[in-house]
């Protein structure tokens, strides 16, 4: 069991700052989609903010991550610029990927955000390669692969955990278990009651933690990062959580039993972490609000930047297919 140490205040506040950015960014994304000014498939992460905020607060700029379609929170937590992220969501030329990737493929290597995949499970094999590169380069940088509970049932998960264990790769597999794979309950699709137990099959540590609890997450992550940086190999963290806005924007949650979402609200990391900080004397309500207001202003500026950014030139179709531009 990882220790239960409360992180230093500056780390707690860094985690809060990330959570605040994520929370308000998700809120604004759903609003703007509703106005029709943003047309995209959107996989809200509302309810899962504590996970990347806590993990990325423990990463260096030179550490790398890979994530999935429900990954905007991971990207922002790792440091992807908010304005470029919004421009990409809007499909504009100033986006991280010149509008060619979109919400499911946001990439920003400068902040270590190496790949976002729309394919369940596929963040993991590539993370093995990113981590292998760290090892070959002789650095102690680590790679985090984010994925969901449904990915625990696909071959890529099992192959990657095995490969990473055999090669002792500095990679941390982070499963956000939000209880649903698309519309189907975790219990109906997974033969074991915890994804973390599968680590046993690969001889690596498997941490099952409350993914809405920053302190639990922090300690498990610290242990996994220390192990990876020391060259001892990978770890699996299962962060149990909940998503409050279903699989994709517009989801009516009809597949969820009545009352499930309401019950999950009691464990919502957003109000709970705010309360943790104020009750513990780490910050006042006014401190938190001042952080929130700063992020809201950043997000507003990003929305304006994104919607004012030009659409890509059609010639972009022929660029980046290969290194050499194609002749149409």
């Amino acid at each position: 069991m990882p220790a239960n140490t409360i992180p230093p205040k500056e780390v707690l506040m860094d985690i809060y700052s990330k959570m605040s950015l994520l929370y308000h960014n998700d809120d604004r994304a759903r609003q703007v989609i509703r106005t029709g000014r943003l047309v995209m498939p959107y996989y809200s992460f509302r309810g899962q903010e504590a996970i990347p905020s806590t993990i990325c607060a423990q990463l260096r700029d030179s550490d790398t991550i890979s994530t999935i379609y429900r990954g905007t929170h991971d990207m922002l937590a790792k440091g992807c610029p908010v304005d470029k992220l919004w421009a990409e969501l809007a499909g504009r030329v100033d986006g991280t990927c010149k509008g060619k990737g979109g919400p499911m493929h946001i990439t920003h290597p400068e902040s270590g955000m190496m790949v976002t995949t729309g394919i369940v499970g596929s963040s993991m094999p590539i993370a093995c390669g990113l981590a292998w590169a760290n090892k070959l380069n002789g650095t102690d940088d680590v790679t985090v692969a984010f994925f969901g509970d449904a990915a625990g049932n696909i071959g890529a998960f099992h192959e990657s955990l095995n490969l990473a264990a055999v090669w002792k790769l500095p990679v941390i597999f982070v499963c956000s278990n939000n209880r649903y794979g698309e519309h189907t309950k975790f219990e109906e699709t997974c033969a074991v009651d915890s994804v973390a137990t599968r680590a046993v099959a690969y001889g690596i540590p498997g941490h099952k933690v409350n993914g809405n609890d920053v302190v639990e997450l922090y300690n498990a992550t610290q242990e996994a990062i220390d192990r990876a940086r020391a060259g001892e190999g990978p770890s699996l963290i299962e962060a149990n959580t909940f998503r409050f806005f279903g699989h994709v924007f517009g989801d009516d949650d009809a597949y969820m039993p009545a009352g499930e979402k309401e019950a999950a609200a009691a464990n919502d990391p957003w109000p709970n972490y705010r309360k943790f900080l104020t009750d513990g004397g780490y910050a006042s309500e006014a401190d938190l609000e001042s952080i929130d207001e700063a992020h809201k202003a950043t997000i507003e500026a990003a929305v304006a930047f994104a919607l004012a950014s030009p659409w890509p030139d059609v010639q972009e179709m022929y660029r980046d297919v290969y290194a050499e531009e194609l002749v149409p």
Binding site: C128, L136, E159, S160, Y322
Partner: protein, 330 residues
């Protein structure tokens, strides 16, 4: 007299020379390390002993994981040469190849790239049946972002492998299994064959035979026999299927006015359809007759030798097509 080597040795030389020149070049795949023999046919023999097990890595039989690992390492500036033992095994990691290796450059707006090589063997003629013999190049030529080369001689194999490793994008390097041990001229070490450049392996004026791999070498040998009967065929080895050398092909057909496209991939929806169509679109008025396509039959590659032989293009089929186009009956 020039030295003769086979394609196994030529590819081994190319990997050896590339690894010696650039520490970023890595080799990984099932059985590729020396203690397992250097790959199932020995193409990577000697490399792990020479360059170490950090750079030449025998992997678990986990194509998705190790192809993904090669992609990740390539994104970080390494140049992995990953062996997917047989082309049919590429289907189990098609997600990594098609959705990731091929598309990451484009989807990231050019911020990331995947300079990797996938080596894979295949080819009917070995009695390997339906899951170890397919030519599936069209699956990958149809996916923007990949390049596909299929050499037919040791020196082409050497030069194309060097170019594939140099290339900034993912290249699928197909090793035609039944001809891996055929002797050919030894390559000049350090030489490159540009990807996308065909080779006219026999000049002629009556008809153009266009293809690649084992079948184009056989067609070339057969063309020499037809020449004795006064039929002068030009034979073009494309060597690269994507990109393919449109210019050389069109110049040839402009000259001959007739074309046959031949490959060991299935004819239906095969690469020959793209090539024939391009010829028609550009040289319709110059053609004496429609382009003839010859490919494998629309079936799984059969085991029984009689059926396997019947499934792939025969010299009789090619000769009949040639005679039909030049108007010389048998």
């Amino acid at each position: 007299m020039s030295d003769k080597i086979n394609m196994v040795q030529a590819i081994n030389w190319a990997l050896d020379d590339a690894m010696a020149e650039d520490k970023k070049v890595l080799v990984l795949g099932e059985d590729v390390a020396d203690h397992t023999g250097g790959g199932v046919v020995g193409i990577t023999k000697g490399l792990s002993g020479k360059y170490g097990k950090e750079r030449v890595v025998a992997t678990p039989i986990s194509e998705t994981a190790f192809t993904g690992a090669a992609i990740g390492a390539a994104m970080m500036g390494f140049k992995p040469v990953v062996e997917i033992m047989l082309m049919n095994f590429m289907t189990v990691c098609s997600d990594m190849i098609v959705n990731h290796a091929a598309k990451l450059r484009f989807m990231s707006g050019g911020q990331t790239s995947v300079p990797m090589v996938i080596r894979t063997m295949t080819g009917p003629g070995m009695g390997s049946g339906g899951q170890h013999s397919d030519f599936m190049e069209v699956w990958y030529t149809h996916t923007a972002g990949l390049k596909v080369v299929i050499p037919s001689t040791p020196d082409d194999a050497y030069g194309l492998m060097r170019s594939a490793i140099d290339d900034p994008d993912p290249v699928i390097f197909v090793e035609n299994m039944p001809i891996l041990w055929n002797p050919g001229d030894a390559p000049t070490r350090g030489s490159r064959i540009p990807i996308g450049k065909a080779k006219v392996i026999r000049e002629g004026k009556d008809v153009s035979i266009i293809g690649y791999g084992r079948v184009i070498q056989n067609a070339c040998a057969h063309a020499a026999k037809l020449a004795e009967q006064g039929i002068d065929a030009e034979v073009i080895d494309l060597r690269s299927v994507q990109p393919w050398d449109v210019e050389t092909v069109l110049a040839s057909v402009e000259k001959t006015g007739a074309a046959i496209v031949v490959h060991e991939a299935v004819k239906k929806f095969g690469p020959g359809a793209e090539i024939a169509s391009t010829i028609h679109e550009n040289l319709h008025k110059r053609l004496r007759a429609p382009v003839v396509r010859i490919g494998a039959k629309y079936a799984a590659v059969p085991f029984s030798n009689v059926l396997e032989t019947a499934s792939v293009p025969s010299m009789d089929e090619i000769e009949a097509a040639v005679r039909g186009l030049v108007g010389v009956p048998a």
